[in-house]
């Protein structure tokens, strides 16, 4: 496997030894570079996702989607982004101005924060704390407050209604999301992102193989809860454009709206990315225990595996979104509190039993 830390170590040595910069300056330069890389990656992936969503949606509805701008509509998203950037940002009269301005920033903060935890390749994990998964769920929960404040600050009854719904829905689904991650952590024995992937490298070591029944249940519940957490259909109660105009971002224009839009798409990617990391082995390649096959698979770089798995899950979530009708808010809450959460708790016990008795694939 290609180890990306060779590159980072080389760069670190370049700054420290070749250029003779001190501790402070070299760390500062590295932090700025990594931060820029995160933001550029965030923006680029958002563009890809928006284009993918429009095309997938179009083909599910027997349309062609955007076709005019560029070959096969490839430049459409860039045109949209440009349009969004040059739109005027205005503030609603009688809105609570501080909250109105802070809300999109909180939403994007939670999203970028969670995005930085994704392990891209062997040695290319940006935030790799020993409390990784726990911190990830903590940071992503800030987004809920952003959405609520957006609805509250806009001084619009539709926005407030949508914000309440979104907050209730996201808080509820966070419970099963975290329980699923805990189920996975029991088996991997670590909360560190790189450690979780490390525990899944080797023949049939991906968590859904290694942990068989409980891991597969946790995986599916994670995808359902993640879909709800990202506020996407069939759980897109927060926006519900037929009843609540555009929900909590009704009153936002230009990049204010752009931030919500970006965060929504990236949350989809983050959910898929975490599911791919925790349950499908992240950058771990397919290994089946036959040396020749494994060697070939190991030549494919980790980022290709990670992106492949993540975009596969993104595609499945889009498929679900464009296939199922929207649920009512009471149905959404019932699904979570009466079915998913009890199932997760039972599953947690099942996983503990499996691990304690050593019934998983070693």
């Amino acid at each position: 496997m290609f180890d990306f830390s060779i590159v980072t170590q080389w760069f670190d040595a370049l700054l420290r030894e070749t250029l003779g910069l001190g501790d402070f300056l070299s760390i500062l330069i590295e932090c700025v570079l990594v931060g820029t890389a995160i933001l550029v990656g965030y923006a680029l992936i958002a563009c890809v996702l928006i284009f993918m969503e429009r095309k997938v949606c179009a083909y599910f509805q027997c349309r062609l989607g955007p076709m005019r701008v560029g070959y096969w509509g490839l430049l459409q998203v860039f045109a949209d982004v440009l349009k969004m950037l040059i739109k005027e940002i205005f503030i609603v009269d009688k809105a609570d101005k501080i909250l109105y301005l802070v809300a999109p920033i909180l939403v994007i903060m939670g999203s970028v924060g969670a995005f930085s935890f994704l392990p891209w390749n062997n040695g290319a994990t940006i935030l790799d704390f020993n409390v990784g998964v726990f911190l990830l769920t903590a940071i992503s929960s800030i987004g809920v407050i952003g959405i609520f404040l957006a609805g509250w600050g806009s001084n619009n009854k539709y926005s407030v209604l949508s914000a309440m719904r979104a907050a209730v829905q996201m808080i509820s689904y966070e419970v099963s999301l975290c329980l699923c991650l805990i189920t996975a952590v029991i088996l991997t024995g670590t909360m560190q992102m790189s450690g979780i992937v490390e525990a899944q490298t080797g023949p049939f070591k991906w968590l859904i193989f290694q942990g068989h029944i409980p891991a597969i249940i946790a995986f599916f519940v994670f995808l359902i809860a993640g879909n709800a957490e990202a506020n996407r259909g069939p759980f897109d109660m927060a926006e519900a454009e037929s009843e609540l105009t555009a929900g909590h971002h009704t009153e936002y224009s230009g990049m204010g709206f752009g931030f919500f839009y970006l965060a929504e798409f990236l949350n989809l990617f983050i959910i898929a990315g975490i599911a791919a990391t925790v349950f499908l082995g992240g950058w771990a390649p397919v290994n089946i225990g036959i040396d020749a096959f494994d060697a070939v698979m190991n030549y494919i770089p980790g980022i290709v595996w990670f992106m492949g798995k993540t975009f596969f899950l993104v595609w499945i979530l889009m498929w679900i979104k464009w296939t199922f009708p929207r649920l009512r808010i009471d149905q959404i809450l019932k699904l979570e509190w009466k079915y998913l959460m009890p199932m997760c708790l039972i599953n947690l016990v099942l996983m503990t039993v499996v691990v304690a008795l050593g019934l998983y694939i070693k």
């Binding site: 909250l99 409390v131 726990f134 903590a138 407050i145 509250w152 907050a167």
Partner: protein, 171 residues
């Protein structure tokens, strides 16, 4: 050096947010500024390499308690929500100042008595495994009893909340 710069940035951020939190007349704004204070404190934990406490701070306080406050605020009267009521009175100010002074005295007493200021503390990340076993272990310096007590307490709170909130069907 970098630590001191980060500490100063965080400290200024915390103090400004804390002042704004008590000075604003709109109650949702106060909750938002409290969120900033809590995030700043989490930042200080990260600065001290105490990542578990930092993560718990964000999860429990920033993610949980602030949301609970925001929901509770929805029950407040409309005039208070829109900042129409002037609520800063001289008496409240005096009580607030007294509380702040008492807090300062207590914290400085603890700091001086335990000698935290002069003590050199190793700057290492505590491994998650150690924290986990300490939380649910029953040996010396392990915390299974308080842990279980708090969980039972929280359960009682949830049941109490449900009993209060539940509307009985009219018979």
């Amino acid at each position: 050096m970098a630590n001191i710069i980060m500490f100063i940035i965080l400290a200024v951020f915390i103090i400004v947010s804390a002042l704004m939190c008590v000075a604003t007349t709109r109650i949702v704004r106060a909750a938002t500024f409290m969120l900033f204070v809590l995030l700043g404190v989490a930042g200080i934990y990260f600065l001290l390499d105490y990542t578990f406490l930092g993560a718990a701070q964000i999860a429990v306080y920033a993610g949980g308690v602030t949301m609970v406050f925001v929901f509770a605020i929805q029950l407040v009267s409309k005039r208070a929500l829109q900042g129409l009521e002037k609520r800063v009175k001289a008496g409240t100010m005096a009580v607030g100042a007294l509380c702040a002074l008492a807090g300062l005295v207590v914290v400085s007493l603890i700091l001086l008595k335990a000698g935290f200021l002069t003590q050199e503390i190793a700057n290492v990340e505590v491994p998650m495994k150690e924290i986990g076993t300490a939380l649910v272990g029953s040996g010396k310096y392990q915390y299974v009893l308080p842990f279980e007590f708090i969980s039972v307490f929280l359960l009682a709170c949830i049941i109490g909340g449900l009993v209060v909130a539940r509307k009985e069907e009219e018979a």
